[in-house]
């Protein structure tokens, strides 16, 4: 790539492609797991059989967001949305829609078919309040073809930066946009770049944190799967801004599709000269290497990540010195998260003011959330900062399934906290979330209903941190273990109120004395559930009851003698022979033998078995 003109030529050619229909099939992890590769195969066969190769283009895209309804298929130009597509539906769709021109209404996403005409996707509840900046291309382009990315204006921002801006101007734009790190802590991105730019060195590094370890979060994975080039372009821009010629992407090995698409993207960018030496004939050189994480949550911490890239145990290092001065291989380094990078090219092209016009006073732009748990529309959503949790859960997410009551939403993963119903109307941004005892985190948003036990959830996160603590510093290594032991006692009904005091004391010690953010934030799930759901802890400790009916040691299954018909089904189902009774007589559960597996309750046709 010797000049911007060459890039624009590729873009014009990409736009010229004219097939009548463009069928987008989601090739993200969610839809791949629910069978989209088989859909693509069948679709290809049917299109060949009908001689439609010229008229129909099949595009395997990244994630559309509505993972709960996968596999998903969208037919453009109209944008007709087929959800939960089955292989056997394909011949009908090809015959009726792609040949006949009439969409198969019964297979469309239900919400789009309620009016007289088929609703465009943007008008459905799930998409209406979303605003896609970081996910702009996800589901729109084929991530395995660089021409498609260039066709939507890709690499134009890199061209603009290299040919018309000084490094200092680039940093100023990023700073003025108000962009803050999307990995969790929310540090101003431009400031990070400025620090690294100011330090002289023979080599500097640009790193991308794609080690998305927060269990239940898949924002970064979706960007990498759906639009890998945006990350490469942004890293090259960052390289120019701070004076680095080498970048590294540290990506989870558990994301095979993302890794494969990144490999393809890097190869294609090198072939076109968008990575490598003398990019756009400007003398600027930049290349990117891929490093696979190996399943250690602590490697999401910046110094641990760099230690891991260097080929060591991924243990964090004390700061200072900060990575901007001594990072990877002891050279000045910046590390940004995938979603942060995904915003950069748009900020360069549309300007800092455009970006700063979205969001709240101190949190600009949009945020991607991975919505999961007890929610109807599980999936990926991108909303302007300042959107309320209620809008996300009730409108976009479609509420809690099975008529259950919303109890809390968990953000920030093992470092974050739970937001109770009373705070549903707080506009979400970095500072508001911290004020109510949670944190933005990378964007996992798990909804919990009345059947979720908050003590059990706190225990779940502590089990996670105990597993993932690297063991380097004592407060984290020993402290998380002691906290987990107390939580286990509580869920077994063996704890006293004194234990609760000890638990709170441990929270303070860990937060104050741990070496890195993993240990410092490990108590957060406990602190926040104690803040809002202290009564549940008390119920476990004093009354020896689990109000949500989750903690098995505090549960008893019982049979309501008035409802029991004596059909013996439960007694035959019970794996422990704990149920006794004669035919047509009310049965009873022998509590000493009962394993509390719940099989009897599931099988009973008369609703006679309950737990308390």
């Amino acid at each position: 790539m010797k000049s911007l003109e060459e890039l624009r030529e590729i873009r014009e050619n990409a736009k010229k492609k004219t097939s009548r229909y463009r069928v987008h099939v989601c090739g993200g992890t969610g839809c791949t797991s629910s069978g989209s590769p088989r859909i693509i195969k069948r679709l290809t066969e049917e299109i060949q059989a009908n001689g439609l190769e010229e008229d129909v283009e099949i595009v395997k895209t990244g994630c559309f967001g509505l993972c709960a309804l996968g596999p998903i298929m969208i037919v453009h130009p109209e944008g007709t949305f087929y959800s939960m597509v089955k292989e056997d539906d394909i011949p009908e769709i090809v015959r009726e829609h792609l040949v006949g021109g009439t969409p198969v209404k019964r297979l469309l996403y239900e919400e789009t078919t309620k009016a007289d005409h088929i609703l465009p996707l943007e008008e459905t509840n799930f998409y209406k309040k979303q605003h896609r900046v970081a996910l702009r291309n996800c589901g729109e382009i084929s991530p395995e073809h660089i021409e498609e990315y260039i066709g939507t204006g890709g690499y134009e921002a890199l061209g603009k930066v290299l040919t018309t801006m000084t490094p200092e101007e680039v940093i100023q734009v990023v700073l003025d946009s108000g962009l803050r790190g999307r990995g969790g802590a929310g540090f101003p991105t431009g400031l990070k770049w400025r620090f690294a730019a100011a330090n002289e060195a023979d080599q500097k590094y640009v790193c991308c944190n794609a080690d998305e370890g927060d269990p239940g979060a898949f924002m970064d994975r979706s960007v990498l799967e759906g639009d890998p080039h945006v990350v490469l372009e942004a890293m090259a821009i960052a390289g120019y801004a701070i004076g680095a010629s080498q970048g590294y992407i540290y990506v989870r090995a558990e994301y095979p599709i993302a890794v494969q698409r990144l490999e393809i993207a890097i190869r294609q960018a090198r072939e076109l000269g968008l990575l490598g030496d003398d990019i756009f004939g400007t003398g600027f050189s930049f290349d990117i290497g891929l490093r696979l994480g190996a399943g250690a949550f602590v490697c999401g911490e910046e110094t641990a990540l760099m230690t891991s890239i260097e080929g060591n145990r991924g243990e964090p290092r004390p700061r200072p010195p900060f990575p901007a001065l001594k990072g990877l291989f002891q050279k000045p380094t910046i590390l940004n998260n995938v979603e942060t990078y995904a915003n950069i090219p748009q900020i360069i092209l549309n300007g800092a003011e455009w970006f700063a016009s979205m969001g709240t006073e101190k949190s600009k732009g949009t945020k991607v959330f991975a919505l999961g748990g007890k929610i109807n529309n599980t999936g990926l959503v991108e909303v302007p900062m300042g959107t309320t949790l209620r809008e996300i859960v009730e409108e976009i997410g479609g509420g809690v399934p099975n008529g259950k009551k919303f109890k809390a939403a968990q953000t920030g993963g093992p470092s974050g906290g739970c937001i109770p119903a009373e705070h549903l109307d707080v506009p979400i941004d970095y500072d508001n979330l911290i004020a109510i005892g949670s944190m933005m985190g990378s964007g996992g948003l798990i909804v919990m209903d009345e059947d979720t036990c908050m003590v059990d959830i706190a225990k779940f996160f502590l089990e996670f941190t105990v597993d993932e603590s690297c063991g380097k510093c004592t407060p984290c290594r020993i402290g998380t273990r002691r906290m987990l032991e107390i939580l286990e006692k509580i869920t077994k009904g063996q704890a006293t109120l004194e234990d609760l005091d000890k638990l709170e004391e441990l929270c303070e010690h860990l937060a104050a004395n741990s070496l890195c953010a993993l240990g410092q934030t490990a108590p957060n799930p406990v602190i926040s559930t104690l803040r809002y759901f202290r009564d549940e802890y008390i119920a476990h400790i004093v009354d020896k009851k689990c109000p949500a009916g989750v903690c098995k040691d505090l549960l008893q299954y019982r049979i309501d003698a008035d409802k029991c018909k004596g059909c013996t089904l439960c007694a035959r189902t019970c794996p422990a022979d704990a149920i006794v009774g004669s035919v047509k007589e009310p049965h009873m559960i022998n509590q000493d033998k009962c394993l509390k597996c719940g099989a009897c309750m599931e099988k009973c046709r008369f609703g006679a078995i309950y737990k308390e």
Binding site: T29, G30, S33, S34, C67, A68, L69, G70, G213, D214, P215, G216, A217, F218, R221, A253, E254, Y255, R291, L292, G293, A294, G295, A296, F297, S308, I309, E310, G311, N312, R313, G314, F329, A370, G372, G373, K374, T378, G379, Q410, G413, G444, I446, M448, T452, I457, F460, F464, C470
Partner: protein, 164 residues
């Protein structure tokens, strides 16, 4: 991380050793090459027995204690062989609140092993993993590369039977 005593004798072939030598040669003089080499070695052998770690140590000139340290730090590296069918149950938050903990417990009971172990016949191994990324299908487990979603405890027998 696996600290259990190695019970299966090492049976590497000449071809595997040759493939490993090529991988190491391909990463010569590259800073931080140990992780990619260990990852490739595990691809070649299926796990990282001490014998393989020794070969890497000799050929890369990296002390054994460092290699062992790295190999035991990351959960992806296995010091013991896995089953022919590797079961991993997602215990990410989204799956956990939807009951994957019950699935995991039921599998341990049915297979008679705990997480991290392999059945004595070498058929199934069981592990917990953190987020496959298919949260829309929660609760989820994987057997080798096949994903099973929207699971209930009742589904387990039928699924395991497929691998008999």
């Amino acid at each position: 991380m696996s600290e259990k005593k190695q019970t299966v004798p090492f049976s590497g072939t000449k071809e595997q050793e040759q493939a490993l030598r090529e991988v190491i040669a391909g990463h010569k003089d590259e800073p931080g090459a140990l992780m990619p080499v260990l990852q490739k070695a595990q691809e070649i052998y299926g796990y990282l027995p001490i014998e393989v770690q020794k070969m890497i140590s000799d050929q890369m000139g990296i002390p054994m204690e460092k290699i062992y340290g790295v190999a035991t730090f990351y959960s992806q590296f296995n010091l013991n062989p896995k089953g022919r069918y590797r079961i991993s149950v997602c215990l990410g938050t989204a799956c956990y609140v939807k009951g994957s903990g019950d699935i995991y417990n039921a599998l341990m009971e049915k297979l008679g092993i705990v997480g991290g172990e392999c059945t004595p016949d070498g058929k199934f191994s069981l592990d917990a993993c953190r987020c496959v990324g298919a949260c829309g299908l929660a609760p989820v487990m994987m057997i080798n590369d096949e994903v099973y979603g929207r699971l209930t405890v009742d589904d387990i027998d039928d699924i395991l039977a497929k691998y008999e």
